[in-house]
Amino acid sequence: MSEDILGTAAAWAAEGEQVALATVVETWGSSPRPAGSMLAVTASGRMAGSVSGGCIEGAVADVARQTMQDGKPQLLDFGISDERAWEVGLACGGKLKVFVEKLG
């Protein structure tokens, strides 16, 4: 198997799961995952891939669930200068933007 997050997400959607896709769209500093990295999340709690070293996946998954419900894409900012990032604790000290969209 390889790191085909989109393929995994599409397969979940085909099974009838509600799926949201989060993609790193921009990074600054020492963010662990480059732009284009993806995290797929289902309403039932399945997860594949990553958008960071693990520090913001939980927060992104929360937003993903909201996006699944209302269908509205979201652009999230995480960084040390950001209050929200303080809450979730971006330990790597980097900054990144994550785009979250409903899949299918």
Binding site: A13, G36, F99
Partner: protein
């Protein structure tokens, strides 16, 4: 992503067609390049990032766009269905390579030895011509037999393969260089061959040798 965009993207990926997904970050509007007509500046950027295989941000008329390339998988052509190839193939697949093992000796290139790997039983020069290595292809020769390795290397050297590695000691490689020179390859071309193959990590076992080869392939791919 709408069901239609997802279906089209998946179709292009299945057909091994390079495409880029363009997303307007303010509202999630998406286009698929080159299938959809997009403004010139976005098309140029999409073309470039498909070549670089790197996602990018573009601002056009005050709107932020995210452009993500979806290239076909990297390929690895392994010549020689030998012991090292048996671990190299699945490890390379794990790293995202579409692997083909070439060996006309069917006793070596058997399905029992290579489950879930594409096998090609043609003579290496024919197989290589047909597989046509490109800038997203790595070629590794492992047979240790000039009759099989040399024709494969001959074709690889004429291609744009981003990595060419050949198993064999320094002495074996020196002799190989002489034979390939006789086939008309110059010093610069021959310097492309990584030999002895792999990073020097003191590899002894077959999986260790496979790891050293893959480490070198990744380094080459990432410009190290």
């Amino acid at each position: 992503m709408t069901p239609e965009h997802l279906a089209r993207l998946q179709r292009a990926r299945a057909a091994l067609t390079p495409v880029a997904l363009l997303t307007r970050l303010s509202d999630g509007t998406q286009f698929l390049f080159p299938e959809d007509a997009v403004p010139g500046a976005l098309a140029e950027a999409a073309q470039r990032l498909l070549f670089d295989d790197k996602a990018a941000n573009v601002t056009l008329d005050g709107e932020a766009w995210f452009l993500q390339p979806h290239n076909p998988p990297l390929r690895m052509i392994v010549v020689g269905a030998v012991h090292v190839a048996q671990t190299l193939a699945p490890m390379a697949a794990e790293l995202g390579f579409a692997v083909t093992v070439v060996d006309p000796r069917r006793a070596f290139a058997s399905e029992e030895r290579f489950a879930a790997v594409a096998l090609n039983h043609d003579w290496p020069d024919e197989a290589m011509e047909a597989l046509a290595p490109d800038t997203r292809t790595a070629v590794v020769t492992l047979t240790h037999d000039p009759k099989l390795d040399d024709p494969a290397l001959d074709v690889a050297l004429k291609s744009k393969a981003f990595y060419i590695g050949a198993l064999g000691s320094k002495r074996t490689h020196a002799k190989r260089i002489e034979r390939l020179k006789a086939l008309g390859h110059g010093e610069a071309a021959l310097a492309r061959i990584a030999a002895p193959v792999g990073l020097d990590i003191g590899a002894v076992t077959a999986p260790e040798i496979a790891l050293s080869i893959l480490g070198q392939v990744v380094a080459r791919r990432r410009g190290k």
